[in-house]
């Protein structure tokens, strides 16, 4: 934990993740309430975005400095209290202003609801509490901006289509689709924005494709792969070796593919293969439906398995750990070449934990 706290992340990377790769609304699917319901006009969306940004900054600063010693169950309440303080101060200020009355009426009960925004608690718990002050401030601005951009774009489109105006200026005398002002319109806009973001990343930032969680994880637990623990454990005990554990399930799909390709190209010694990977039992022929399901999983469409609800606090992009790659006797240079051929960025390669030895026998 202490090491994690000291470890600093470049600000550019935090901003890239907060705004694009792990956008809180479009990718992490948190803090939807203001985006789908409240941002029915540009001015209200801008108001909510600015309030949310303020809450992010103050909460993350507090979380990274003084709240680290407070138990988590109390911290969650503190975030809400801080959010409430900022929200109600801004409400009180707007009540006293002549121009603020209309805004308050338009925002309705959604402005006070910003105090209970889930995305603030998510970022504070998964990032600010574990990182330093500078990183937390950057993250607050990045995540706040990521949410603000979505809110403002959503507000702009919904006001234009739903009311025929932009910030009160009439564009269409007859609004094309009045229903866009309803939450239905908000969800529609978010759906198209999420697809657009996905397209942008696949075109301009292909290296980050595999890190995007454009999936909701399903909870159905997979059975652990069957093994023969008695024999293996006894044999290991005789040789003073640690018992073999089943291989961990790979999370990052893009990497999984590359790892398979890497293995298929590499001639690995059979002995090593036997030690590290127990042969799975022959599976019966799958029917068409099961095969389709498998295909969906491979393509990344399948909503990911094995996620607890606790994972509402488990989506931080900085917590990603790619699986270890056992390279056998392959040299480290060859491995890197293989990975580069799979079109992975340098950034991704740096994150890999590569175990094995090169030809000179040096551990990498």
């Amino acid at each position: 934990m202490a090491e994690k706290t000291r470890k600093s992340i470049p600000a550019s990377r935090i901003f890239l993740y907060g705004i694009i790769v792990k956008n809180p609304i479009l990718v992490q699917v948190v803090g939807l309430c203001p985006a789908v319901a409240a941002s029915s006009s540009l001015r209200v969306a801008a108001l909510l975005a600015s309030v949310q940004l303020m809450i992010f900054v103050v909460c993350e600063i507090l979380a990274s400095t003084i709240l680290k010693i407070v138990p988590r169950r109390i911290r969650v309440a503190v975030y809400m209290a801080v959010g409430a303080g900022i929200t109600f101060a801004s409400m009180y200020y707007l009540e006293k202003q002549s121009y603020g009355q209309d805004l308050l009426v338009s925002a309705g009960i959604y402005l006070p609801l910003m105090a209970a925004n889930a995305s603030v608690a998510l970022r504070c718990e998964k990032f600010a509490v574990k990182k330093g002050l500078w990183n937390s401030i950057c993250d607050a601005f990045a995540t706040g901006l990521g949410a603000a951009i979505v809110l403002i774009i959503s507000g702009l489109i919904r006001e234009l289509l739903g009311a025929g105006t932009i910030s009160g200026n009439v564009i269409f005398s007859d609004p094309p689709v009045p229903a866009m002002q309803m939450p239905f319109g908000g969800f529609i806009i978010l759906g198209f924005l999420a697809a657009f973001l996905k397209w942008c990343i696949s075109i301009f930032l292909p290296a980050y494709n595999h890190e995007m969680a454009f999936k909701i994880k399903r909870t159905k637990r997979r059975r652990a792969p069957e093994r023969e623990p008695v024999k293996e454990t006894k044999a290991a005990a005789v040789n003073n070796e640690k018992p073999q554990t089943p291989p961990a399930e790979k999370k990052e799909e893009g990497f999984k593919i590359s790892e398979e390709a890497l293995r298929s190209d590499n001639k690995r010694p059979e002995r090593k293969e036997k030690r590290t990977k127990p042969k799975p039992a022959p599976t019966p022929k799958k029917n068409e439906k099961e095969e389709r399901k498998e295909e969906h999983k491979r393509e990344g469409f399948g909503f990911v398995k094995n996620m607890s609800y606790d994972d509402l606090f488990d989506d931080t992009p900085f917590e990603f750990s790619l699986p270890d790659v056992e390279l056998g006797d392959m040299s480290a240079d060859d491995a890197l070449k293989k990975i580069i051929n799979e079109e992975f960025s340098q950034d991704t390669i740096n994150k890999l934990n590569i175990t094995g030895s090169d030809k000179e026998g040096d551990k990498q």
Binding site: L32, T87, V177, I216, Y309
Partner: protein, 197 residues
Amino acid sequence: MIWFFSMLRAALYTIFIQNLVFNGGYGSSEAIRMSAKPQRFLPFSMMIAFFSTVTALVCRTLDNFKEIKQSGSAVHAALYCAVLISIYLFVALILKLVLDPDKKFFSTLGIAALNTLVFAVPLINRNAGYSYTESIGVGVGSGIAFILALLLINVGLKRLEANNDIPPLFRGTPAMFLYVAMLSLAFNGFSGSSLFT
């Protein structure tokens, strides 16, 4: 008997006519994320119903005080927020002392208590001028509305997963957003709204 029907009417209105998740967007992120976890539907929804009912009752009681009744919307919202936080901390303390559950339970409890759906209930009650019995109806109804939303989204997720015709760019979250939009539109239809007029 009148109080019972008054409560039932408010609950049914909250579940179907003004489904808080689909028509109001309250707690929609929790609903979407939670929909992938069928075995937790009931306990989570019960927690939401409990917190929203208790918060609604306490806030309704506070509204009887003259000074509070005459105050502005900012003061009301701040007070309701304080009530919600206090109830959450009180329940967490009691559970910690009596049952001492694990950290995951408290994490779930925090999410169930401190979300937009629960916080919206007393604010809606105040705006609509609901009585005590109606406030209880809205509180319980919000829990049932939430579980209805979870079931509908869960069924949709399964079907979206099995559908091979969705374009690759729309697979996953975009398709799910569009599906929830359709549900939201359907529930808006119950309340008499229309698409183009």
